[in-house]
Structure formats: C-alpha cells, structure tokens
Amino acid sequence: MKRGQAQQFNWIFIMIVGIIILLFFLGFLVKYLDLQESKENAEIARGFSNSILSMKGTEQYKNSSFDFPFGVIYDCENIIVNEEMRFKMPYTISMDEFNSDELVYWVKEYRKGFLVDRVVFISDKKTKYYFDESFVDGIPPKVKNLLLTSSLQEADVIVSSSLTGEGKKNVLVQSGNIDINGTSFSYDGSDFFVYAAAFSSPEVFECTQRKLSERFNELKEIYRLRIQQISMYQNVFCNYNSISNAIASGDVNGMVSLNNELANLDCEVVF
C-alpha cells in the first residue's frame, strides 16, 4: 500500500470510529435523559405516596406544592405518576385525574353508625368547586377557602341537586342517587358520598363505594366478635342481642340508638 493510500485509509478509519463514538454519546444522552425523567417520577411518586400515608390516621387537610407539575392517574389499585411510575395504594382514596404542582388533601371520616374508614380526597388546587349551600357546612373552612367558589361560571365542578353547567363536571344529587356526568349511582344519603363524587371520576367513585362496603362488612364482623366478648363479663341487665342484630342487618339508626341505650344503662358500649 502506498503512503498516500495508507493516510487516506487512516482518515476513513478515524471518521468511522468517530461516528460510532458520537452515536454512542448521543444514545447515552437520550437514555440518560429518559433515566433522569424516571428518577424524577420515582421521587415524585415517593413524595406523593408519603403525603397520602401520613394523612390516614386522623381527619385533617393539607395543602402541598411540588417543584413542577406532574400527572396522576388512579385506577383504584395503583397510582400512576406521569404515566410511568406505578405504586400500589391499598388505602381508600378519592381523586380524579390531574396534572398539577399544587394539591389539596382532605381526610374525611366515613361513618355508618360506627367509623368505617378515613378516606383521603385529593384535588388539584386550581380546580374550583361549586357546592349547593346544603353541602358546604360539612367542608372544613380551609378547604372551602382553597377550593370552593360561589360562582357557577368559575366552577370546574358543580355539585348540586338542580344546577348543571355545560363543559363542566356535573354532580347531580337527587333522592338517593348521585349522578356523575351522566353515570348514576345509588348511595346511602350520607354527605360523605357527595364529597367523594365531587372529587372522583365515576370509576373511582364506584370503587370507593365498593371498598367502603367491604370494609363495613369486615367491621360488622369485628363488632359481632367484640359483642361476644363483652357480653361475657357484663351484668345480665346488659342485653346485646338487639344491637348485635341491628349491626348484622346494617340498620344504622337502630345500632346507634341501641348503643346509646347501652350507655344509659351503664353497660359497655359496642362502638
């Protein structure tokens, strides 16, 4: 091979190697950016999950800000952050899809005679809610200030027994039924489910109702077993048969009045 040809060959070799190295760096850069995004999503998911876990213990509310907006989908079992990072959420929460950097959390107790669960309602702070006057009293003042509006035009979500708005999420509450954007659900008349409907999609609402119903059934069994125990050491005038039947049949008014009656007779109450 002549000297000129050898030099030409060297340059071709350098160019090929250079292109391979450049492609490697470009590939690495793309992968690295994806990885950074996944890392950020994992950190957001961790922060978001911790916020929910730390709130379950008691009725409260919280307002929290994040460094940048992120999207969240809840499929009733898992929370999916930015369509990528998925974590299991075994507790009952109530939320609609959102993309936001400011969130409001509100923990509300669900009682059906006795305490069944504390459910975390989560909302984008920018979403504005209009509630009929009759539902406003059950909302804590700070949550009211952050999320509620008295103007139907400003509202993104309208919760009412008669009013609706075009292009908005409409929650219609009418005698034992809650209608969320055309999907109808029967409910037990508790205001808790009115708030749950306001904060969740129809799918999440259906799942919240199912989860609470399952939990209620477990608690009924716990109280039945507890009654068996306390009736053993209480005096004979304390009759637990009626309250046991009321709990077993899910008669809420009956179980509450019978529980109060036990307290009046100086007997151990059931709940």
Partner: protein, 143 residues
C-alpha cells in the same frame, strides 16, 4: 499517527465503560427510591394500625388514641382475606402483659428475610376498665 489513534481509542473505551457504570448506578438509584417508598409504607404501618377502626378505642362515636383489647381479640379471630390487600406480606403482633395476640400473618411463599419494627401502644382493657402498655410489632417478609 497510529499511536495517537490507539491512545484516543483506548481513552474512549475507558470513557464508555465509565458511562455504562454510571448509567447502571443511576438505574440502581431508581430502584432504591422505589424500595425506600416501600420502606416508608412499612414504617407508616406502625402509626396507622392503632388508628384503624378495627382496633382503635371508640366510645359513642368518639375515637381515642388507644387499642381496644376486645377489638384486638376480635381481630385475631377474624380470619379474613380482606386485609391481605392492605397489609400484604406481614406479621402483626400485639404484645401485652406477656401475652401475644397475633393480629395478622401472611407470608409469601418465597421470602428471604424478615424486617421488624415495634412501638409501644396504649391498650384499653374494658374488662378491668384500665389502660395497659402494649408493644405493637410489625414484621415484613422480604422477598
């Protein structure tokens, strides 16, 4: 010329190896964040369990910061698969006056170890009408 090419070539090979190692470390840091998240959920259980309506003391609808002993016995006898979704692979024990109340136990088929946390809790014994100090123990089966 060829020597220079060789040196540059070796340099880039070393650089590539460095980048691949760095990338692997970053991937590992993501799985660390995920496991930290699971760990937080585990540590959180020690404060969540005493506040569950299934165990928490309540009188006429007012909740108290204690575990009701009769509810703990009821929970021990419940035998429900419902709580597997909430607790997963855990063993939860309430120790009180030398007595061990097994509140929940479900272990996955293959687990490599057990991590344990415990915390003192106030326990109300309605039979004696007195408060006791118990220890709530949560064991996590690690897969």
């Amino acid at each position: 010329m060829q020597e220079s090419i060789f040196v540059v070539f070796i340099f880039f090979i070393i650089l590539m190896i460095g980048m691949i190692v760095f990338y692997q470390l970053e991937v590992r840091s993501i799985s660390n964040i995920k496991s930290e998240s699971e760990e937080n959920a585990f540590y959180h259980m020690i404060s969540y369990i005493p506040s569950m309506p299934e165990l928490q003391c309540s009188r006429l609808g007012i909740q108290e910061e204690c575990i009701d002993l009769t509810k703990a016995y009821a929970f021990e006898n419940l035998q429900s698969a419902y709580y597997r979704e909430v607790f997963g692979g855990k063993k939860i024990i309430l120790n009180i006056d030398g007595e061990e109340i097994l509140l929940y136990d479900w272990n996955p088929e293959n687990f490599n170890g057990v991590r344990k946390i415990n915390s003192p809790v106030s326990v109300f014994d309605s039979r004696e009408n007195k408060y006791l100090i118990g220890v709530l123990e949560v064991n996590m089966y690690e897969e």
